[in-house]
């Protein structure tokens, strides 16, 4: 009798374990954000999962264009897309997908960012640089500057746009070439037309061996180089510099791409990338205010859960935090 009871008890325990296994299956919500949002999203993901243990938020970072291509070109089922350039969503997603339905037909802008000049205590002239003299410091031959590869990373072409705007707004002819353009082989040439400044990049961006300018694939590798002393200054987003604990110089609003009210000025600088990396989007990038936006693709497998997480995420960005882009 005792043996039967013992066996029954063991069976009940096994049943409970198995059932708990069944109900512990989590709902996966796939989120693809721009790389500059990875730090805040890591925090937001942890907070959300602590409140909703039945949900598994899976975050996979990409450049903004690559993020959208996961849905439009690679046909992946993604629940939430969060990009660092609001214009990309209508440009790339307001069109029919294979099911005859638009990839999306809405987006919510929620935060803004601005370009800054990040540096460390070890950077040349770290004790002298300020918002008033930054361009004079960068012009010095011995000062090494870096930015992300414009073909791969939006902050890269935004650095070029920013320096073209700086040359015009500060009325300092030749600034772009002294700091950046002349340090490439062949040199980058800015054409000034009635529509503004345009720089056409060669297919291969090849910095001169003097090391005045260095480019890396993305912000992550650029800032690693900055921290190891390989460069003195890096053009990057303000939220990224703060998130990495770096010092930075703020730049005037008419060139930092951070103010909606200066959109007409930003529009006066354009970068033509050396080749069309993606068949679905052209190779021309014109200055725009940096605005982050979110959307849910038409085929999101967990639309309801994506909507809940999106609402939570938007609240978190509204509240802000260290390394978060500023709320709109």
């Amino acid at each position: 009798m005792k043996k039967t009871l013992l066996i029954s008890a063991v069976l009940i325990v096994i049943l409970i374990i198995l059932c708990s296994g069944c109900i512990a299956e989590k709902t996966v919500v796939k989120v693809i954000p721009a790389g500059s949002l990875l730090l805040p999203l890591d925090e937001i993901e942890q907070e959300y999962e602590a409140l909703h243990p039945e949900i598994d938020i899976q975050v996979e970072g990409h450049g903004s264009i690559q993020a959208i291509r996961q849905v439009t070109d690679l046909n992946r089922s993604i629940d939430l897309l969060v990009v660092a350039d609001e214009s990309l969503i209508p440009d790339m997603m307001y069109r029919e997908g294979p099911d005859g339905v638009n990839y999306t037909d809405w987006y919510t802008p929620f935060a803004r960012n601005e370009m800054v000049l990040a540096f460390t205590n070890e950077s040349a002239y770290a004790d002298e640089i300020s918002s008033d003299n930054w361009y004079e410091i960068l012009e010095k031959a011995e000062v090494k500057v870096g930015f992300s590869n414009p073909t791969l990373d939006a902050s890269g072409y935004r650095a070029l746009i920013m320096m073209m705007l700086a040359e015009n707004q500060l009325e300092r002819p030749g600034l772009f070439n002294t700091v950046i353009g002349d340090s490439f082989s062949p040199a980058l040439v800015v054409n000034k037309t009635e529509n503004g400044s345009v720089v056409k990049l060669p297919e291969i961006l090849h910095p001169e061996s003097d090391g005045k300018v260095i480019i890396r694939d993305s912000s992550m590798f650029l800032l690693s180089l900055l921290e190891s002393g390989g460069i003195d200054y890096a053009f990057d987003y303000k939220s990224v510099a703060i998130g990495q604990g770096l010092r930075y110089v703020e730049l005037p609003p008419e060139i930092n791409l951070g103010e909606e009210s200066y959109a007409d000025i930003y529009d006066n600088a354009t970068v033509n990338l050396g080749f069309q990396r993606f068949a679905t989007i052209g190779n021309e990038r014109t200055g725009l205010p940096i605005v982050y936006a979110v959307t849910i693709p038409y085929n999101a497998p967990e639309r309801e859960e994506a909507e809940k997480f999106m609402a939570f995420m938007l609240d978190a960005f509204k509240e802000g935090g260290e390394g978060y882009p500023a709320p709109l």
Partner: protein, 182 residues
């Protein structure tokens, strides 16, 4: 006895044929090579796999720091593959494009393994660059490279030393056309 020997011989033939059959024969993925003179040549994966190949280490990192690998990779050095359409020379560039509409451009120097970045396991840049070779990869860990991972043909940067991480932007997936420009 003769019958048994005959059956054994037939079985041996069947098994041997199974072992040495070409694992690339059924892969329907034509690759177009275009020389600088405009001449084109279409090759099957099987034909590419029959060319002299190299094997080594492959380990990549995405622009946001996601690591892929390490793998044991096999393929044909891109610079040698292009000999099929007249070769590539100094001053020319090579456009590698993919079925998903992606394009990347390599310089001649990069095909020689120069102007390429490599990192250690902590994603810190190696002061002394490793020996790197851009290859058109068709096998990973001795097996045909799967479509889901970016195969059957994918660009990769092969290293002779293990645990050297290379830039993922050069690892073009689903390669279906390679052109020499200039």
């Amino acid at each position: 006895m003769k019958k048994i020997l005959l059956i054994l011989a037939v079985l041996a033939c069947i098994f041997t044929a199974g072992c040495i059959s070409n694992p690339y024969a059924d892969i329907d993925w034509p690759l177009t090579l275009a020389g600088s003179d405009g001449n084109e040549k279409v090759m099957t994966v099987s034909e590419i796999a029959a060319l002299p190949s190299v094997s080594g280490h492959g380990y990549a990192v995405s622009t946001v720091g996601i690591k892929y690998g390490p793998y044991e990779i096999t393929g044909v050095p891109l610079i040698e593959l292009l000999n099929q359409v007249g070769g590539v020379h100094e001053g020319q560039t090579v456009h590698v494009s993919a079925a998903d509409g992606y394009l990347w451009v390599f310089s001649y120097e990069q095909l020689l393994g120069e102007d390429l970045l490599c990192l250690d396991a902590n994603l810190k840049e190696l002061k002394t660059p490793a020996n790197m070779t851009p290859i058109l990869m068709y096998a990973v860990d001795g097996k045909p490279y799967s479509y889901d991972d970016g195969g059957p043909l994918r660009m990769a940067t092969m290293t002779t030393e293990p645990d050297v991480i290379t830039e993922g932007s050069l690892w073009v997936k689903w390669v279906d056309r390679i052109e020499v420009h200039g």
